[in-house]
Amino acid sequence: MADTPKPAETAKIDHYPSPFEKGWMNKQVEIKPGIYCYGSNPKNLEYVGMPYPKEWNPTEEDWKLPENWKEIIEEGFKDRLDKFRSLKLFMDICVRCGACADKCHFFIGSGDPKNMPVMRAELLRSVYRRNHTIGGKLLGPFAGARELTEDVLKEWWYYLYQCTECRRCSLFCPYGIDMAEITILGRELTNLLGLNIDWIAAPVANCYRTGNHLGIQPHAFKDMLEFFTDEIEDITGIRMEQDFNRKGAEILFITPSGDVFADPGTFTCMGYMMLFHYLKDQGLDITWSTYASEGGNFGYFTSHEMAKRLNAKMYAEAKRLGVKWILGGECGHMWRVLNQYMDTFNGPADFLEEPVSPITGTKFENAKTTKMTHIIEFTADLMKHNKLKLDPSRNDHLKVTFHDSCNPARGMGFLEEPRYVIKNVCNNFYEMPPETIREQTFCCGSGAGLNAGENLELRMRGGLPRANAVKYVHEKHGVNMLSCICAIDRAVLPNLMEYWVPEVDVTGVHEMVANALVFEGEKKRTTDLRGESLPGMEDEEDV
């Protein structure tokens, strides 16, 4: 694994390519350690039946491509042009105005000109022009066209796996050209040759087999949640048992497996469990599933087909268990898929009912067809109806800011609900500057399957704009907690904070909800869910 440079070193970024460069087409790609992710392990591709599994190393000359690789890519490209109007249009109408250039977190953090979204797209467009436009065929480089060669393919691969599909560029594009869409389809092309990264391929294979990215088997999944049950009992004195794979439950709950696996996601998971237990007496009838035990979808970072294959488990399990509707945990790309793809992929879910909160009776009309509601919506509605007894002062040791995750922000518009929930459970909430939140939010730098270890330098670079905004509120307001509603955020932002703003920690929103939630008959809380003493509570005697 490459050594990650120190922050001061990383910060030396030059955003201005020198005037007399040769021109981008003439520069061969250099695959740098710390930036690229390891190539996919053949066993992971084999398990899900992806083509051309092989041992390969991106830094080596020989990528072990099949003989007819060029034909495969060109066929694949053509096929996708015929299937996606977006791709055709986005290949044709860019005027290279440059509005997107300095909007990409990877460009801001690296200064690599090919990380400007327009350039990332041009890498594919140049080949498109060569094969599909008259000008490109006749004039070649003078029309911005070039031949597809192995070097070009390597360049595609290197830069397509330096895009987190966050769509910030598409917000600023006067024609709405969406690099995420181009990356998704470009990655599909690389997958035709078995050129995935293992950090995506392994979770996909795991998820296919065990139901979740981390490969947690059913008994272990249950064990983990039972461990949290013990933890919760230690803190609250109440045993909050959960149900698994229970047929006939009213609601199926699905969250990213990252929440079950690693801190601080686990505290968010404990938050869900506590909320469910709290509502049990009020009529909440909910079950977890070990089969549909993944909210996220790394298939989405592989191909539309793989996304659909993994997503299918949600409805299949809902149908098998006979639930009425599905509740989904805090996650980013999970909600992009659930909002913009799920029903189209695997619907219609006509065996489910339109979600209704059993506690408040609120109909979630905006989830009428997918029948899946976001837990933040669910909780916001509970708060609006005063169904939760909350003591926000338990979060008084926190000065909180909120990181909008790219996907719920720009692929859904889920902006106010989380803020409403946070403000109900925290007394100290501060927004980051407007250019860095809501629809203009910056990516954590590790999304779309790039949260590996070997590319840590890339992640720290890509996360720099976010970290810089956090630093700003940290210095101005003393913010010490970065909240988010995304499992990948919870997994990667702690690293990012440690690197750029070490004074700030990371939390999911439901962790804070559970901290504030006042249970009947609970013992006096002396610590938060993390087992850290609550200031002002530690010295008092237990009542």
Binding site: A101, R410, N468
Partner: protein, 356 residues
């Protein structure tokens, strides 16, 4: 190809475009070719080209509903949604598209990265940057006004709005030096604005290193072409006057499909006309197609309703999934041991095994 080569190539191409009619009409007097045949050919290429291109785009379906949401979604009644930037239905989409097309709303969001290091610590700001938006807006609207003003050359009688536009456009510059007092006609505001906007759009491609890096000959060529178009038009109006009556005769002839080729129109007119012909004939094959493309852009022209209205993918096909049965078959023993419910009991597993 670096930017110098790109600029040289594009400017060379535009020089050739200017020289062709200069020689063609000036030396060879091919008035019918340059005044009638080429304009018709260009117009046919333009219209047919655009239609073919748009049909080609439309032939590819929109399998998924992928609007870029730029505001709060429609949710609870007590949460204020943003129906324009995150439309839930057609009405919102129409308004969003009108704003995009008429005011370049997304471009208006533009900011400029300001990256500094203070004692080695990065400090990032996003500064005000509306110049691109201003220049784009000025360029497109000036072009539109100039285009509409030209109606006076091919309509008889001249529609009222054209005259009005012309008067408004000329009004501002009535007394402006240095053009006044040389026996020159009044200067049109849009002429000046168009050239100013074009100059800026060109300069930013050369001066801003990021834009310079991404620019292709296909970016410089249309800019040079439109600059040449504007420049030739202004030369014609302010310096080398041509016989407007004869120009109008030619233009009306073209539009009434009874073309005539009057004698004695200066060659500068044919240069102007030929540049226009090249521009419109080039149009369907170039990035200028963004004019039509914006209307079809799926991140802008779709409503964000996929959670409450089903969107169908016309080429959807069944895929192989890992079923619950397969999952339970693999983990049944562990599940039973952990006390998790199973569909087929341990006995039934044993039975199956016996049968096998």
């Amino acid at each position: 190809m670096n930017f110098v080569l790109s600029i040289l190539f594009s400017s060379f191409a535009v020089i050739v475009v200017v020289l062709i009619p200069w020689i063609g009409v000036g030396a060879l007097d091919l008035r019918i070719l340059f005044g009638i045949i080429i304009p018709y050919a260009a117009m046919v290429t333009f219209f047919v080209g655009i239609v073919v291109r748009v049909i080609d785009w439309s032939r590819s379906p929109v399998p998924f509903r992928i609007p870029t949401t730029a505001g709060q979604e429609w949710s609870f009644p007590w949460i204020k949604s943003n129906p324009i930037d995150n439309p839930k239905g057609t009405g919102g989409v129409v308004i969003r598209m009108i704003f995009e097309v008429l005011t370049f709303r997304s471009l208006f969001r533009n900011t400029r990265l300001e990256y500094r290091r203070i004692d080695g610590v990065p400090k990032i700001d996003y500064e005000w940057e509306k110049w691109l938006w201003v220049a784009a807006l000025l360029f497109h609207y000036s072009f539109l006004v100039i285009f509409l003003r030209h109606f006076r050359f091919f309509t008889e009688p001249v529609p009222g709005f054209v005259t009005l536009l012309q008067n408004l456009d000329g009004f501002m510059q009535m007394g402006a030096a240095p053009f006044n007092g040389f026996g020159l006609p009044g200067v049109y505001l849009t002429d000046m604005l168009l050239m100013a906007a074009l100059t800026w759009l060109l300069l930013r491609r050369i001066l801003y290193s990021q834009i310079r890096y991404i620019s292709l000959p296909a970016d410089y060529f249309p800019l040079f072409l439109i600059i040449a178009l504007g420049f030739s038009g202004m030369l014609m109006r302010y310096l080398f006057r041509v016989d407007v009556t004869k120009v109008k005769e030619l233009a009306i002839g073209l539009f009434k499909f009874s073309p005539v080729s009057p004698e004695g129109i200066g060659v500068i007119f044919y240069i102007h006309l030929f540049i226009l012909c090249v521009l419109i004939a080039y149009f369907p094959f170039s990035k200028l197609m963004h004019l039509a493309g914006i209307f079809l852009s799926p991140t802008r022209n779709l409503s964000n309703n996929s959670r409450f209205v089903r969107h169908v993918n016309p080429w959807s096909y069944p895929v192989k999934t890992h079923t619950y049965e397969e999952y339970e078959d693999e983990f049944r023993d562990k599940m039973i041991e952990a006390g998790l419910p199973v569909d087929k009991g341990a006995e039934s597993t044993a039975e199956t095994e016996e049968k096998e």
